[in-house]
Symmetry: C2
Subunit: 327 residues, 2 copies
């Protein structure tokens, strides 16, 4: 592996000169002939920059990380994708991390990332992840949180109004004549899910449909399928099922497939895009979060912080309810 020293030796010049031209800072500081020689020799010797050495010296790695709780959730998958696209444009590489909703894993990974000297972190906080957030901040690593607010932590936040989105969508269902609307949510104590539940409950109460309110809490991980099985009958008897997140929806669908699909005439409401799943004949609706915008905003905020800006803010984007009936 050839180094700058190697090409300096070959040309009998100093490595500082080589560094100047190879890092594009030679403008008016290195003569044209020398510059050309360096460039050519670098090519001949198949030189590749050692970014580690550079990073150590300049104090920044051009690496950022995005830590999500469940990469198999399409919402997070897409978010990660969009962040990567933005990062690429800005010259950053991204380390994608899956915390699997575990505080311990999150913390462990955050420590690793700090040691890798990432320039910034975009994180979906785990249920009780405040301490890890604080550690990241204490280490001076720019941080922006996404999807879930982490109470007690002064960091940028980007997300949507989950309460409002859920309430509006349920009201639309009621307007369209549906009555027995039940909710299936993951058994995780995280703000978005709690907010969506509140929205559902309030919408039902306001329409005096209290008696139909049903909350099915599905365990995340171990026990998921069992819980889903137990809720199946209730689901089949309802007019509509409101799934609070993509993951619980897709898992439930695998289950529902066993009994021949969603019953004709029944309505499914879900957070996040389910268009590709709408091959059937049931009435499917979903609440769309502007993922690309969220991702872009999150990255922009991170970029600002990495450039030294200090204030933090909370940015809430509007959602849309989409109805596409195939009946």
């Amino acid at each position: 592996m050839t180094s700058m020293q190697d090409i300096a030796d070959r040309l009998k010049i100093s490595k500082s000169t080589v560094s100047l031209v190879l890092s594009g800072k030679s403008e008016g500081r290195v003569s044209e002939p020398v510059k050309q020689q360096v460039l050519e020799t670098a090519r001949e010797m198949d030189y590749h920059l050692n970014g580690l050495a550079r990073s150590l010296r300049v104090g920044s790695s051009n690496l950022i990380s995005v830590i999500v709780t469940d990469i198999s959730n399409e919402f997070f998958g897409n978010m990660t994708f969009y962040i990567q696209e933005e990062a690429k444009k800005a010259g950053y590489l991204v380390l994608t991390i899956n915390s699997n909703e575990s505080d311990e894993e999150f913390d462990q990974m955050a420590r690793l990332l700090i040691s890798k000297k990432v320039d910034g972190i975009i994180a979906v906080p785990t249920p009780a992840g405040a301490a890890s957030m604080q550690m990241i901040k204490d280490q001076g690593v720019p941080l922006v949180t996404v999807d879930r607010i982490c109470e007690g932590i002064d960091a940028d936040y980007v997300g949507v109004d989950n309460y409002d989105a859920a309430k509006k969508a349920v009201k639309e269902l009621i307007r369209d004549g549906l009555r027995k609307i039940i909710m299936m949510r993951l058994d995780l104590d995280i703000p978005p899910l709690n907010e969506r539940e509140r929205g559902y409950v309030d919408a039902m109460k306001e329409a005096h449909l209290d008696r139909y309110i049903q909350l099915h809490r599905i365990r995340f991980g171990e026990g998921m399928e069992e819980d889903l099985d137990n809720s199946l009958d209730a689901a089949l008897e309802s007019d509509a099922v409101f799934f609070t997140s993509h993951r619980v929806f897709t898992e439930a669908m695998k289950n529902v497939a066993k009994v021949g699909g969603v019953p004709h005439g029944q309505c499914v409401l879900c957070f996040d895009d389910v268009r590709p799943y709408m091959t059937g004949t049931s009435d499917i609706r979903y609440i769309e979060q502007p993922i690309a915008q969220i991702a872009r905003k999150a990255f922009d905020l991170l970029l600002e912080k990495m450039h030294g800006e200090t204030g933090t803010g909370r940015y809430v984007f509007p959602t849309r309810s989409i109805t596409r009936s195939n009946m």
Copy 2:
């Protein structure tokens, strides 16, 4: 940010001693009291290792990269996920890169990764990516290719027998009475897609159904929706549509939703798991690739290479045809 030197100064000892205990190499080389002091002081001063310095010194970054062509393809998404899980166990962080099927992007990213001194790369080669593969090898970076063989490059390969899988699945369709079976594939000149096409064509010919052979080539990226629209009528008139990859399937489904879903009684055959999409009443079948196994094998091979093994091999895993009719 406190360094080893800082804690050595505080304790009036040398930084080598500090290094020894902090890197867990103090066994029988540092006295117990000193060791405890170091550990405690490190905690007090909120010390975090500078991994860049360590990597520069020891010559390895504990970073690997997986470069896929389309992260929004669930097959690659899952593969990446499994690789990450394996990598985590082995103490590696992974940089996920999306080449977007572009040779140029791949090459550019590969150069960046080399400068970041990644310890290894798992790559899905782009259509004409041999030169980039060679560059990676020339730089001494361990490489394993996945999903597509890159001709002319001596590197490990992990994948499935695409010809055989496609042929078998089509034969099953024919056995079950389907005749007008058409294929929709992306317009990319890559081995797996070509092999799947060959398998389809041969199965049809062997059943003397030559007259029903229809190949619809769908552009990837710009023009995709247009091509899909143009093929819609033919699709609706067929007995079955064989989608050669997950991506073309999901895109087509968005399109099909416009006309009210897949017609009753029609069959859809697809490469890769589409269980969550089986909410409808149509006959859906798919060819399952053992993604977890593929990912694990790829990572194992990479690990071996990173540990100095040299030989290369090609590993082909069996697929399964899954039928689950909801009719």
